[in-house]
Point group: C2
Chain length 245, copies 2
């Protein structure tokens, strides 16, 4: 048996998310497992670096699986020839037996795209949050600065019954504006359920004046989902990269 690592891109629009679930055939994980099961002629289970929600995209999701010896190029070509066109495998490589896409990950970067112009980008319109209103970047950067570091992000977690630790470390939040949009890149050691979308909704509320940049420490201290902003919609969110040692 060998351990194979894949880097995967997908347009998440029509999927109910990454994770294969009973009675939910349209998951990205499920589509890939089906193709691999046909190729290897035995049931293959893949492990992703983490779930992405329904409608969320990926530029560099990572997944691994154990299977019999086969050239990586053969697996790579077969996957791209048989997967739907909204899922693409960028690479397949053999990795050490102990490699685990989720447990070995030491960090991740997510991007969130907010379209701030009233003029539609006709070719990308399904791949951003259509906000159509300018945002004050200076206010958003001030607010973001309070989020950097190790904090209990319970206020930014959609799972109110989360029993495990909600402490995470955010290394960087980079906000890059262009003429028509604003991209926020979040890098950290791990993210809670909906955390990037709630962080984004909160930063948007700061950027349009509804919320004070200096309110962030109080939101963190509240340890209460109700204290933070709204959950930005999934279509603007991309899992960009997963980091390993």
């Amino acid at each position: 048996m060998k351990n194979y690592k894949m880097i995967i891109q997908y347009d998440g629009t029509r999927y109910s998310g990454w994770q294969a679930q009973k009675d939910t055939p349209d998951t990205i994980e499920g589509k890939i497992e089906n193709v691999l099961t046909h190729l290897f002629e035995e049931p293959i289970t893949i492990t992703g670096s983490g779930r992405t929600d329904a409608g969320v995209h990926a530029l560099g999701q990572v997944a691994n699986f154990h299977a019999l010896d086969m050239p990586c190029d053969t697996i790579h070509d077969y996957l791209n020839a048989h997967l739907p066109k909204d899922i693409a495998v960028c690479s397949v490589e053999e990795v050490p037996e102990r490699f685990h896409s989720r447990l070995s990950a030491i960090g991740k970067t997510y991007l969130y795209r907010i379209h701030t112009s009233p003029v539609s980008d006709v070719f990308a319109r399904k791949f951003y949050y259509d906000y159509q209103t300018p945002l004050d970047i200076a206010r958003m950067r001030k607010a973001a600065s309070y989020l950097i570091g190790t904090h209990d992000f319970k206020s930014f977690c959609a799972n109110k019954r989360m029993k495990k630790s909600t402490v995470r470390r955010i290394d960087d939040i980079v906000i890059t504006p262009s003429d028509s949009e604003l991209v926020i890149a979040y890098t950290g050691n791990g993210f809670l359920m909906n955390m990037v979308r709630i962080l984004t909704g909160t930063l948007i509320e700061v950027g349009d004046g509804r919320r004070d940049p200096d309110s962030i420490p109080d939101i963190l201290a509240a340890l209460d989902r109700e204290a933070a902003g709204y959950t930005a919609p999934p279509q603007g969110l991309y899992l960009k990269e997963v980091y390993y040692d």
Copy 2:
């Protein structure tokens, strides 16, 4: 009355082309005329620089119309607020009375995108021709060199009963490869029905070895549509820019 010039982008996927036709409500021209007719409260007819076929996109289509005095910003904002998200108006400006989008045009650039990699670009997959096979760029450039200049392009015209002149001037054909695709930019003083798509189909046949680069002069001389290559599909074609004095 004033004369207004618009620059327009659209994703042509779901439209039956630019031109408004009876019993064909889904044309780009028709959508824009409807919005302008509501705004000005009288029937507005717009004139495009030329028709684009069903499924063809635009990065810089130009159209003009005559209507009562109104601030250009008001027209611009109203259009983008009321048009579907796959049509965007980039600018609205007042132009001299004599300006005519089609008759005043002195040249155009079209782009054609060919995806040559077997790995799908999941976010752009509806906006290129999915050819999935590498093409020999040197052969294509050799063939393209024969097309530059003023020629009778009857062999590259889909309208076999064309009664007007089929002589056109091509100023430039630039072929730009990247890892996963190849973009061909055609600039000339005018293009016949399906001409860019037939030129592209012919260059593809040269690039994959089916046709000799040196066969182009014979194709031109034949003055017969049957002599040229196939018509490349519409989803890879973009009207990029229209030039005026």
